[in-house]
Amino acid sequence: MNERFNKINSGLLADRKVTQLMVITAGTFAIFSLVSRDIFFSSANFTSMAYQIPEIAILSIAVMLSMLTGGIDLSIVAISNAAALVAAWIMTTKMGESETLSYSWIIIACVVGTLVGLAAGAVNSIIIARLDVTPILATLATGTLFNGIAIGITDGVSVSGLPENFMRVGNGTFLGIPTPFVLMVVIALAVGYFINRTTLGLKVFLVGTNRKAAQYSVMGDRKVIAWIYLISALLSSLAGLIIASRTSAASPDFGSSYILLAIVVVVLGGINPNGGFGTITGVILATAVLQMVSSGFNALRFSQFFYLAAQGAVLVFVMILNVVLERRRVSRSISKSLRS
């Protein structure tokens, strides 16, 4: 399809944000490569980043989807851990004393884990789409609930020592590229196809822009929202399995900081928190930027607190940039409300 058709879906505004982000990504890369030529600009570092980026990218894509509808999913990490725990429990129970497990059992474990994640997503869908509870409150509550159940069942102990052949997924390569990275690309393409090339995807943007107009256009706004929280849960579960495979463990309190990080990524990626606008490319680029900042700071031996502060600084910077660039649009409505 030609460029004109591409723009139909991404929207002109979103396009500008992606260009912006590309510049930021290139700039960040250039700066760290210059400052830390031997450590940051090394194949060892690139490989390590390629293993770390996918988990956060996939979780961020999940957050992006809910944000496109004007909501948010705060239960992603709880769901991701739940899926990983169930899969890990099945695997460790089945393998007993041996180091490996048959592939069919590994697949069964992953499928069951994903199904549990989807069940959690269905709870979100019902509470948000059917009962009209505000997404931020609903998912905060369900996230805490899922997490609580997981801690209750496991006593807060992590399940470790997963089969070696399962770990190969999270630590191996496919055609020379780290497997998690390949999985991330596949997932990003699939979600990109979903939001840009399907009718349900188009409805996501419309519902996120104006829910009431969506109701008057009879496009099944509740169904659209229900689907989104299911897909968000699916992506979270996949992220959980990848994490378990990389770390050889699953635990109920893994990665609680990921929620905040995912939100930072999504906002940096140019997704409008009010819904209706955003691109998957933006989210991937934003993940890359934040990972580079993290790795770069590591390479320069800055403390992790410094990295946290930098995350915040990046967020503030992007927000200000967005405001400045959209000043015309914004100032119009602000000045209206000022006089009003």
Binding site: L13, L200, A213, S340
Partner: protein
């Protein structure tokens, strides 16, 4: 009893373009205090743009703005407010999360530079302001939950406050019925006495003839005529606006005899909004419904479409009783609905014109595997832009870049694309210029000739007379009178309404 010294407000040689397209090319006008000046012109001729420039919302490319004895090449909204400028914007721009009272009172607080909000004072200001324009709205309600007519009244109440010296009214009457408009005009007369200069924009020519002293007519961003209102006749105004002689004669097509009904509504009841309403529409028939604010006409239209609860009754489409209280069921049965408030109910404002055009029938544009066919999407967009003559260069521009009348066409097109059996139009030509209005009525006529049934809810009596075969008047939730083709007469209808 003039309390203001005679002052003059105006612009000189204003030029303004939006990304290459000229919206205004060298416009000048002036208004004296105590004068009501009309800006007339087709949709997209630059009326709102001019008002936004005079109130500091948009900066002109070149030109001068004069407010009293001060001149500005650049004006900020704050400076404008400081000079006593108040605006009733075409889209009202109320603050959605605040109550009615807060929305009305905020400008008073701002003009008093006060930082303390007191609940009782807020309510007092709001109650007084609403009292002044003679309307009764629950001041504690959130503005998100109220009707479009109430929103418009609130925007009016807010702007007609104490400090105003120069008042802009950009289509302030679109959602109002004759009763509220009469009240509004009394308020305008009072302001006039006080020496306020007013600029009034409306597409209803009898309104501007009634209230305005002077007039400027714009076409494509240029002044094509100006002068004293008395020197202009109805025809000369519309001709100056459009360059054409716009006919306002009746165009309802002859109704073919039909034994079937597109829709039958039987004993519809939702207490206390409407009580026992029954009517039917034949294929190709255009049925009008009118009534005052709060009469239940909008609720009735929404109820048939499943957006307003029905307690009991029956809705039968082409002989089959449909499930009530369900828009999907209504849509499936072949009912379309163009809601009255295009900004919040009709359009996805920041999204592209194309996406808006296909919003109802998105699923029609999928090929196998739920895949969206972009080619068909783009073709549909092109078709509707051409068919309804939507004035835009690029269907990927946001729908906000269109003028009001063109936005209305987008909402209409979105539903025509579904080819419904019954089309319910709630205020189909709200804010549409006289030429476009005729064109929209012609679209309705053509569709009716092909057999589409229409239910047209409107306050615009002349419009109903032009297009309808029959008109029902609703009063207190009941059909108070039915007028057949031969009985349709402006005076009689107005009388029934009051």
């Amino acid at each position: 009893m003039s309390t203001l010294l005679t002052a003059e407000y105006g612009v000189e040689n204003i030029v303004k373009s939006f990304g290459g397209a000229k919206a205004l090319s060298g416009v000048s006008l002036s208004v004296k205090s105590g004068e009501v000046h009309c800006i007339a012109g087709e949709n997209g001729s630059g009326k709102s743009t001019l008002i936004k420039i005079m109130s500091g919302v948009h900066a002109p490319d070149t030109g001068l703005i004069r407010l009293g004895d001060k001149s500005f090449t650049k004006l900020s909204p704050r400076e404008a407010v400081h000079e006593g400028v108040q605006v009733i914007f075409q889209d009202f721009s109320l603050l959605p999360n605040l109550s009615v009272a807060e929305n009305i009172a905020i400008p008073t607080y701002i003009s008093e530079n006060s930082r303390f909000f007191s609940k009782s004072k807020t309510k007092e200001i709001a109650a007084n302001a609403l009292d002044l324009i003679g309307v009764d709205i629950d001041i504690n309600a959130s503005v998100t939950d109220i009707s479009i007519a109430s929103k418009q009244l609130i925007a009016i109440a807010r702007a007609t406050n104490q400090g105003v010296k120069m008042l802009f009214m950009d289509e302030p009457t679109t959602a109002l019925t004759r009763k509220e408009i009469k009240h509004l005009f009394e308020v305008v007369e009072q302001l006039k006495e006080r020496g306020v200069a007013t600029i009034f924009v409306s597409h209803k020519i009898d309104e501007i003839q009634e209230i305005c002293n002077t007039i400027t007519i714009l076409r494509n961003g240029e002044v094509v005529a100006d002068g004293i209102m008395r020197d202009f006749k109805r025809d000369s105004i519309s001709e100056a606006m459009t360059g054409l002689n716009v006919s306002e004669t009746r165009i309802a097509p002859p109704l073919k005899k039909a034994s079937t009904k597109v829709i039958e509504v039987r004993n519809l009841i939702t207490k206390p909004t409407f009580l026992d309403i029954s009517f039917s529409i034949a294929p190709g028939e255009i049925l009008g419904i009118t009534g005052l604010l709060g009469s239940g006409r909008t609720e009735l239209a929404e109820a048939i479409f499943g957006q307003y609860p029905i307690d009991s009754g029956e809705v039968i489409v082409e002989g089959e009783s449909i499930r009530l209280n369900s828009s999907p069921a209504a849509l499936k049965a072949g009912i379309g609905y163009v809601p009255p408030d295009r900004l919040t109910q009709g359009l996805f404002l920041e999204q592209s014109i194309l996406r808006n055009l296909v919003a109802v029938g998105v699923d029609q544009y999928q090929s196998r595997g739920k895949r969206l066919s972009k080619k068909r999407l783009a073709e549909a967009g092109e078709k509707w832009i051409k068919d309804l003559r939507i004035k835009t260069k690029n269907s990927l521009n946001p729908v906000t870049s269109l003028s009001g009348g063109n936005q209305q066409r987008v909402v209409l097109a979105k539903w025509l694309a579904m080819n419904p059996k019954l089309m319910i139009l709630n205020g189909p030509t709200v804010g549409v210029d006289i030429g476009s209005k005729r064109e929209i009525l012609e679209i309705i006529r053509d569709r009716a000739q092909e057999g589409m049934g229409f239910l047209v809810v409107s306050d615009d009596i002349p419009e109903l007379i032009q297009i309808c075969h029959r008109v029902l008047v609703i009063k207190n939730g009941q059909i108070s009178k039915e007028f057949n083709e031969s009985e349709l007469d402006e005076e009689v209808l107005y009388k029934e309404l009051s």
